[in-house]
Amino acid sequence: MPDVPLSPLLPEAQRLLPEAQRAAAQAAETGAAAGGLDSGTLVLLLTIFALAVFVGFEIITKIPPTLHTPLMSGSNAISGITLMGALLALDVDHTGLAKALGFLAIVLATMNVVGGFLVTHRMLGMFQRKK
């Protein structure tokens, strides 16, 4: 996707552009773009990954030891983001088996998310009462 637009091939590209754009737009609208992962997008996603690792690293090394247990339970709750995938398995068009697995996954992931954030909240509340 990302591209330096000042390429010498521009005139040819321009000729092709309207057609390509129309087709691409149509495909994107109907959700087809998701089928494949083109290499340009992959690089952008890798960039996001690399930056997120940096952010995580910088912030988490700043968390004081006092809060390491809440950090553990809190980041565990965040890892329950799989819940998003579990929800998608319950799409109306899916087979019964997929839905059954999805249902179980929702139960487990929701326990992880709700329980994780709540218990972290309980713990942190104890730290806050002080002072």
């Binding site: 995580g56 709750a77 965040i78």
Partner: protein, 459 residues
């Protein structure tokens, strides 16, 4: 709901997760941070649901059941059982991700089963399964379920290797032959469940936090892998944050124990040979009574308390709070010396003491308090053992050699509260108990502290 709007919402959710973690960098902002994280999760879920057609009844039922169970567990749990609970939740997360990957293989169209998609699916199934069974075993060990204790058999490493190899082969088959993906997936999951059990079952109970942090880190990475397949930024970002957090916590724990990660995972912590001469070592141990300790405290001007795993077992934190209040009133300065791996998870002692309403400003980290411990009149070692064992400094052959410890032995007088002379997690005797300036106060941590409180009140 257009895709861009959804993805903007996902970006907002990611930013909320980041701000949430930033909040955790200070106790004052931590509650708010956690709420921001939860809000991020809420945003992510709502925008996943918006504009799609679902099997709503089942979906809502799943959310309600899971939510209710989560609330019950989170509210009922005792603060002392936190390590177990985190292990359990971690296992649930792993289970969910193996189920999601399995469901995906059923409903994904031909066109969607690209190689990267299949690789990520296999990875999250594999990691999910190992996390699920491994975390449940860790939970059992932390609960001290008897049948999980010290399970070792010959050829264990070999069995692990064989299972791991089989899992990888099946994952490769899955990617190479997408038409038979379901079969190879579920066989792989079965083997991976076994692998998780075998990997964790022979690791010592006190090392479970390392295992859990590591598994949690891997589940984060699996979520990020799924994010690449779904081209979903919130999965990638949340996954990387969790991955980073787990790795960093693992490193901190290993460093504080002066053991390498492989040494923790493949159990090189032998029951030490030194145990046999414990009798000789402990010949000069002096024991004491609550009244005597009360006298000591009454005449002290600075007292340092070193809590350890025993305080959690005895649930002695509230009794300790009473003791601190009493000493405060008499003008005695009381501080806590917190070892980074005291207890059974990082920050374990801090949570317990916070529960008992003890100001976190009183809690000093090991490196900050060690230089001034020789100015302490009394040091109370409350259910701690390995983290105050001077052998770490003196005996290079000891299993805890080189582990930084709290220099409790440097205080004028050391009072050690525990039930017996039996060793701590590392299984080695502790010469501190026999030191000339040490006094043993035998008993359950809570009872012993309450005894001292009573004696102080009466004096």
């Amino acid at each position: 709901m257009s895709n861009s709007v959804t993805n903007l919402a996902y970006l907002a959710a990611s930013v909320l997760f980041i701000l949430g973690l930033k909040g955790l960098t200070h106790p004052r902002t931590a509650v708010q941070g956690n709420l921001l994280g939860a809000l991020g999760m809420f945003v992510a879920v709502v925008f996943t649901l918006a504009g799609r057609q679902f099997e709503w009844a089942a979906l809502i039922a799943g959310l309600v059941v899971g939510g209710a169970l989560g609330v019950i567990l989170a509210v009922k749990i005792q603060m002392t059982a936190m390590p177990q609970l985190v292990a359990l939740f971690n296992g649930f997360g792993g289970g969910a991700s193996l189920l999601v990957a399995g469901a995906y293989l059923i409903f994904a169209s031909e066109a969607e089963r690209t190689t990267p998609a299949l690789v990520a699916t296999a990875a999250s199934g594999l990691i999910g399964a190992v996390t699920f069974s491994g975390s449940l075993v860790a939970f059992g060990k932390l609960q001290e379920l008897k049948f999980l204790k010290d399970v070792r058999f010959t050829g264990q490493q070999l069995a692990n290797l064989a299972l791991a190899a089989a899992c990888v082969i099946l994952a490769t088959v899955l990617v190479a032959q997408p038409e038979a993906a379901n079969l190879s997936y579920w066989v792989m999951v079965l083997l991976a469940l076994g692998l998780g059990v075998l990997l964790v079952i022979s690791i010592g109970g006190a090392d479970m936090p390392v295992v859990i942090a590591l598994l949690n880190s891997y589940s984060g990475l699996a979520a990020a892998a799924t994010g690449f397949v779904l081209q979903n930024n919130v999965l990638i970002i949340a996954g990387s944050l969790v991955g980073a957090s787990g790795i960093i916590l693992t490193q901190i724990m290993c460093k504080a124990m002066n053991r390498s990660l492989p040494a923790v995972l493949f159990g090189s912590l032998q029951p030490a040979g030194g145990t046999r001469d414990a009798g000789d070592l402990y010949a000069t141990v002096k024991s004491t009574t609550p009244d005597e300790v009360a006298l000591l405290l009454d005449s002290a001007s600075r007292v340092v308390i070193v809590p350890g795993y025993g305080m959690a077992v005895a649930q002695a934190q509230h009794a300790v709070r009473d003791l601190v209040n009493l000493l405060d009133k008499r003008g005695v300065a009381v501080e806590f010396a917190i070892h980074p791996v005291a207890g059974r998870m990082p920050g374990h002692m801090n949570v317990l003491l916070a529960e008992a309403d003890i100001d976190y400003e009183r809690l000093k980290e090991m490196d900050d308090i060690n230089p001034t411990l020789d100015q302490a009149d009394v040091c109370i070692v409350l259910g701690a053992n390995d983290v105050v064992n001077p052998v770490a400094r003196t005996d290079p052959k000891s299993p805890i050699a080189g582990m930084p410890i709290i220099d409790a032995d440097k205080a004028r007088t050391v009072v050690v509260i525990k039930r017996s002379l039996s060793p701590g997690f590392a299984g080695i005797p502790n010469p501190l108990f026999a030191a000339p300036n040490a006094l043993m106060l035998y008993g359950d941590g809570r009872d012993a502290v309450l005894g001292v409180v009573k004696a102080l009140q009466e004096s």
